[in-house]
């Protein structure tokens, strides 16, 4: 099937005939389909690729744009903590190195230093000196801690090894969070003592409070075990265990995804602090972070979707329109081609018939004269016993010659008159005149002839006698086609500025497609036994001679319509 169609589509356009009409229909469908596919491909593919590229690009940019502030804030906070701790440690170290153990063991001295320290730096709770054995030899602060032994505590061991120490947050005697810091003062002989201070964590909360990321976000400090060092919005108060996984990395800030309380997705930034085993944690819910991204994504898809719909609609409409136009143009050309072919055929058949008629005329003229002479002689002879019989025979010959003459003369398109005589006339009048001849038969067979004549029809220049013959021929055919009680409708109208139209419609037996194709050919007749088959061919010839056109449509057992057009002013007389 598809191979067949392939073959067909390679034929030149004017090679199509009626049998191939289905193939032609299919061809237009295929054309439409191909046009649609190509148009959709060339428009939708680049559009989709562009959208995809944009999507990814935006996604990447937005992610960095959204995530970078979180990372930066966390890093900054960690840095602030470092600075803060560094400063406090330096101060304590300065005191330890500016004084010797003896001076600091004097409680009054220590209290004086503590007073000076507190007045310059906020957050110091107390200050104590611990000797080599872990005994607090002197103390300045709100508690009675002189003589407390720290030798067994881990921080004491640690400060001996590392030289400095920053504790985790712990609840002190008054049940509020503290941090202890300590520095080791090693003497030249290898012995040492330790200066220890306690800080409240108010400053921690201030520092972490600077990490503000929005109403849904959270920032806090944890130690390496995941214990909260500052209160958290989502994970509880100080010293509670934070449920987030701890990821302590010695270098840099890290971003990870995690599940928060209520199972919401979070982006978490971990920023470690150098001077203590703390980690600044900053987090935001993904939904908040990527809200703008989701909005943008939605808008992009909406626009893309609208674009796609628009393109598809436009392509469908356009191809529909184009293929319809192409089809109409093809059909028009096809019809014109058929019309041309038909009139060529009629013209060549007419020429052939005329040629045959010419050739027959000469020998027929001889027969005519010979028979005539025979009659002359027989008529004038007096004693010829077979005279009557011979005259009868000769007359029969002459009658036959007459019949032949009628045929050839009609075939040659000759009426009584040779020249076409143009005059101004009203076609309505001509039709009425012709109907005068036919009225009797119509009346007798009870045929209704309905006239729908345009009273404002312009007068035309044409040949009255020839027109009479045209209408007589067509109307005779129509009357013969209809049954008793049949109907014939004759309509006239003006067709454009230069033509008039006449249609003669009957509800008679109609014609088959086959008959319709040959109806204007000479000697074609459906009236078996009578009729020369010349009537309509002569009609056709006359109409062409008068510069007119004739069309016929017919449907079997429905009826036939002849439509004629004549120019109001003929340009040239077409020779018959």
């Amino acid at each position: 099937m598809s191979i067949n169609q392939e073959n067909r589509s390679k034929k030149p356009i004017n090679a199509y005939t009626f049998d191939e009409f289905e193939g032609v229909e299919g061809r237009y469908k295929k054309l439409k389909r191909n046009m649609r596919i190509i148009m959709l491909l060339v428009s939708l593919v680049p559009l989709s690729i562009m959208a995809l590229i944009n999507y990814n690009e935006y996604k990447r940019n937005l992610k960095t744009e959204i995530l970078t502030p979180l990372r930066n804030l966390a890093s900054k906070a960690a840095h602030s903590f470092d600075l803060y701790l560094e400063e406090r440690l330096s101060t304590i170290r300065f005191i330890a190195f500016a004084h010797n153990l003896k001076e600091l063991s004097e409680e009054n001295n220590l209290k004086h230093i503590f007073w000076a320290l507190s007045s310059q730096y906020k957050g110091f709770i107390d200050l104590g000196v611990i000797d080599e054995n872990g005994v607090q030899v002197s103390y300045a602060g709100p508690y009675k801690l002189k003589g407390k032994i720290y030798a067994q505590q881990t921080w004491f061991q640690e400060v001996i090894i590392k030289g400095i120490y920053v504790s985790d947050v712990f609840l002190g005697y008054r049940k509020f969070p503290h941090v202890a810091i300590a520095v080791l003062r090693r003497r030249e002989d290898g012995s040492f003592w330790i200066l220890r201070a306690t800080l409240d964590t108010k400053k921690f909360e201030d520092l972490i409070g600077a990490v503000y990321l929005g109403p849904d976000s959270d920032a806090f400090l944890i130690n390496k075990n995941g214990i909260l060092q500052t209160p958290s919005r989502y994970y509880g108060n100080v010293l509670e265990k934070c449920s987030l996984p701890v990821s302590l990395t010695p270098t840099g800030t890290q971003l990870t995804k995690a599940k928060g309380p209520g199972n919401q997705e979070l982006i978490v930034a971990y920023a470690p602090i150098k001077h203590a085993e703390y980690i600044v944690v900053a987090l935001r819910p993904v939904s908040v972070l990527l809200k703008s991204w989701y909005t943008l994504k939605g808008e992009m898809f909406f626009v893309l979707f609208l674009g796609l719909i628009g393109i598809i609609l436009a392509v469908v409409r356009l191809t529909d329109l184009m293929v319809k136009r192409i089809q109409a143009a093809d059909a028009k050309r096809e019809a014109a081609f058929r019309q041309l072919q038909h009139s060529h055929k009629l013209s060549s058949i007419g020429k052939l018939a005329a040629g045959v008629a010419h050739e027959i005329n000469n020998p027929m003229a001889i027969i005519n004269e010979k028979a005539g002479l025979m009659r002359d002689i027989v008529e004038s002879s007096e004693n010829f016993n077979q005279k009557e019989k011979f005259l009868e025979l000769i007359n029969s010959i002459l009658e036959s010659v007459d019949r032949m003459k009628n045929i050839t003369h009609r075939l040659l398109g000759f009426a009584k008159r040779i020249e076409v005589q143009f005059e101004e006339l009203n076609i309505n009048d001509v039709i009425k005149e012709v109907l005068g001849f036919l009225e009797k038969e119509a009346l007798y067979r009870n045929i209704e002839i309905r006239l729908q004549l345009d009273v404002n029809l312009p007068r035309i220049y044409s040949d009255r006698g020839q027109l009479q013959q045209v209408f007589l021929n067509i109307l005779t055919n129509s009357i013969e086609a209809v049954q008793e009680d049949g109907l014939i409708i004759i309509t006239t109208w003006q067709e454009g500025a230069e033509k008039i139209g006449i249609s003669i419609q009957d509800n008679g037996c109609g014609m088959s497609k086959e008959t319709l194709e040959h109806i204007f050919e000479p000697f074609f007749t459906t009236k078996k036994g009578y009729g020369t088959g010349l009537g309509l061919s002569i009609t056709y010839g006359i109409i062409k001679k008068l510069g007119g056109d004739i069309y016929v449509t017919s449907k079997e057992s429905v009826g036939t319509t002849f439509t004629l057009f004549f120019p109001i002013k003929p340009k040239n007389v077409v020779e018959g």
């Binding site: 000469n362 027929m364 003229a365 001889i366 027969i367 004269e369 002479l373 002359d376 010659v401 020249e419």
Partner: protein, 126 residues
């Protein structure tokens, strides 16, 4: 009785021409038959006929040429064209060249005689 009418019949179909001539003779006309254009022109030059019945399609000098020459020299002689090769344009051309009428073969002898009589009548009136 008036003088007999002289008819010149020009036709390359010899059988047609002589038979027509014989029939006209029976009806009291003088006839002369020529089978080509040259003969026809000679005949006209030697003795002027009252009417010429002229075929159009002939070998050599054709009917139109003969008609033209007769009309240029003897415009008073009426010529009736009679041909089997009838086409409207030929008829119109013949009439334009000065033919009295144009008839298509086969022709009824009575019709021909009527045409000839009226042609002679018309030429006499001039």
């Amino acid at each position: 009785m008036s003088k007999k009418v002289n008819i010149l019949i020009v036709d390359d179909e010899e059988e047609f021409a002589i038979t027509l001539a014989e029939r006209l003779n029976l009806r009291g006309y003088n006839t002369r038959v020529e089978n080509d254009g040259e003969g026809a022109l000679n005949a006209v030059n030697t003795s002027l006929p009252d009417v010429v019945v002229l075929d159009v399609k002939m070998p050599g000098i054709d009917g139109f040429e003969v008609l033209k020459r007769i009309k240029s020299e003897y415009p008073q002689v009426p010529v009736i064209l009679l041909t089997g090769h009838g086409a409207t344009k030929d008829g119109i051309k013949g009439m334009e060249l000065g033919a009295y009428d144009y008839l298509i073969k086969p022709v009824d002898i009575t019709e021909l005689i009527e045409k000839m009589d009226s042609a002679i009548e018309a030429s006499k009136r001039k």
